[in-house]
């Protein structure tokens, strides 16, 4: 078993929080895991990404080679598209359809079209997070959406752990956000 995931988004969207849950679940469930992060200057509202590699064998490279990623998980559509050349021919794209327009943005419809042509599953993460109770929970919506392709069973436990300091209400919102991401038939959007 190997699952190589590229997490892509914009600085501040909570990509590291999302991958925290995955990495901890991997340790718990006996998988090897590597997760590379971006710190420093690149964080401030710019494009960010992380490479997350899960395997039952030894993993060497912290970076996923081009053409070897099984999944691109985007919290922003243009950022999901940015890593296309890393995806395997059979790979999946799961991404939020909600653009972050803090740059002169390319034609939004064209971005979504190209994603669809590559078989992307698109999800209105803002709407689902709002339904869960907080627009901030978009990253956890996306975690729920990708969880259907992951071999991990303990993700929800780590969401609880992650948000327990912030109170019961926040835990509840994020658990609901996870479930909404998981059950929504994203390909219909």
């Amino acid at each position: 078993m190997k699952c190589d995931i590229i997490l892509a988004g914009v600085g501040g969207q909570g990509i590291l929080t999302l991958s925290y849950a995955i990495v901890n679940a991997c340790l718990d469930e006996g998988y090897n895991v590597l997760q590379s992060e971006i710190h420093g200057m690149s964080q401030r509202g710019g494009a960010v990404y992380a490479h997350l590699r899960i395997s039952d064998k030894k993993i060497y490279s912290d970076m996923i080679p081009k053409g070897r990623a099984d999944i691109i998980l985007g919290t922003e559509p243009l950022e999901a598209l940015r890593h296309l050349d890393h995806l395997t021919p059979e790979g999946k794209i799961i991404t939020s359809s909600v653009p972050v327009k803090n740059i002169i943005y390319p034609d939004e419809a064209k971005v979504l079209d190209e994603l669809r042509r590559h078989g992307a599953l698109l999800l209105d993460s803002t709407d689902l997070a709002r339904k869960a109770g907080s627009i901030k929970a978009q990253n956890i919506v996306m975690l729920g959406a990708v969880s259907r392709f992951l071999p991990l069973k303990t993700l929800k436990m780590y969401i609880k752990k992650l948000f327990s300091k912030k109170g019961k209400e926040i835990v509840k919102i994020n658990l609901l956000a996870f479930d909404l991401g998981l059950i929504t038939k994203c390909w219909e959007i």
Partner: protein, 522 residues
Amino acid sequence: MPYPFVYTMQKKKILLGDEAVAQGAIDAGISGSYAYPGTPSTEINEYVRSTEKGKIHCAWSPNEKVAYEEALGHSWAGKRALIAMKHVGLNVAADPFMSSAIAGINGGMVLAVADDPGMHSSQNEQDSRCYADFAKVPCFEPTDQQEAYDFTREAFDLSEKNNIPVMVRLVTRLSHTRTIVAVGAKRKQNSLRPARDNKRWTVLPAYARRMFKEHLAKYDSLQKFSEKRSSLSLRGKRLGVIASGIAYNYLMENAPKDISVLKINFYPLPMKSIEKLAKHVKKLIVIEEGYPFIERQLNRFKIHGKLDGTLPLTGELTPDIVRKAIGMKAHPGRKASSLLKIRPPRLCVGCPHASTYDVINGVKKRFPKLRSFGDIGCYTLGALPPYNAIDTCIDMGASIGMAKGAVDAGVRPVIAVIGDSTFTHSGMTSLLKAAKENTDMTVFILDNDTTAMTGGQETLANDQRLVDIVKGLGVDERHIRVIDPVPTRLKENIAIVQKEIPYKGLSVIIPVRACVTMVKKR
């Protein structure tokens, strides 16, 4: 000890490479951790602070030179100390680094330096292994996070055994990758036993000449250890690869069949193993992250690598680049999209620096010839649109010195823009001289109460303390103006600065407002 190590009371932890270094140092029994924050090294001291505060001295230092000297004093007193910095930080600490190598240490002393090939968050790609070689200080180069832990622990033993500071060289991808690391039990800290041999600790020429000779002999004797820390696998004769540190991962990721490999994790180089490999194979490639450091030392062999274009001379390695270099075909994949637009970093919404740049750009309307010397921090982003408010940014603290030099040459009007943390890092001495000469320029010291770019570390001088320092350096009190950088005060702030620009002497403007991201975190 044969590698890999097995620890008694082994536990598994999820750690970043930086955190693995810190945990290794903690478990080796350090009593002091000294650092100035700098990507990608910041998380080393952050981790010590978050897990061992109160048990290990671990406050942030004003700069890397001071950090190194504090650690050296700690070692002199017999206790173990860790020093952490980014690659360019070692330029600042180079003076004590070079001379302490000759003098040696007392308590174990390890310097962890994180290089940034690819310049993710840096101004150059300098390779710290060159510094290790320059000072003849032994250097570990871990391949992964487990080795980062293991080798940092071992570096303290090697340091104490050989009476020498030891470097652990990291690179961005190693520092900032999180994985599962097996850790052992914590060793006791050393008890206080200050050095007695004052001759050895005093590098007067007469003493230093003798010590330098001994130092070089000591360094060469570590080659034997280097053979033990490298691993040679002799297989096919067609191709041999010498791969160091993280480059080894990129090689193995491609699972090349039937090639011979020498994995290098320590310098000085294991010359015996290198010779064995060179004799065994027809073609030899060196793969290393950073400068062609190993490659240049092996010019008596026929070598392929960065110098003959087999691998690129700049930027960071990837598994794909290494794949091509060893003659394997690229993986089938998809074409990159043609719709992509870059998304550069920017100042946060509500950032006080943004308001300061609005003031500067407002003043520029009245003084269109105004030139602006920038510095290193979040406010370097003022060089990008929409502000375009900075003409230069070279190194930590350069703004004030360069501005003064330009004024000396006849440029007017001139401003310097520097953050509070960068000012105490290496801006204070330049301001001392500018005050002495009452240089005709205006210095902005942006006081946001933190070292923001690296994640919000505490700084040494803010608010009144910062004003007092500026006064103490000799700046005329009437020309020190504290302003509140908020959009609602734009007009009044522009008016204040516009009065200071024509003044034929040194003015200091201090915009004071806490970093908006740190306020949110609190």
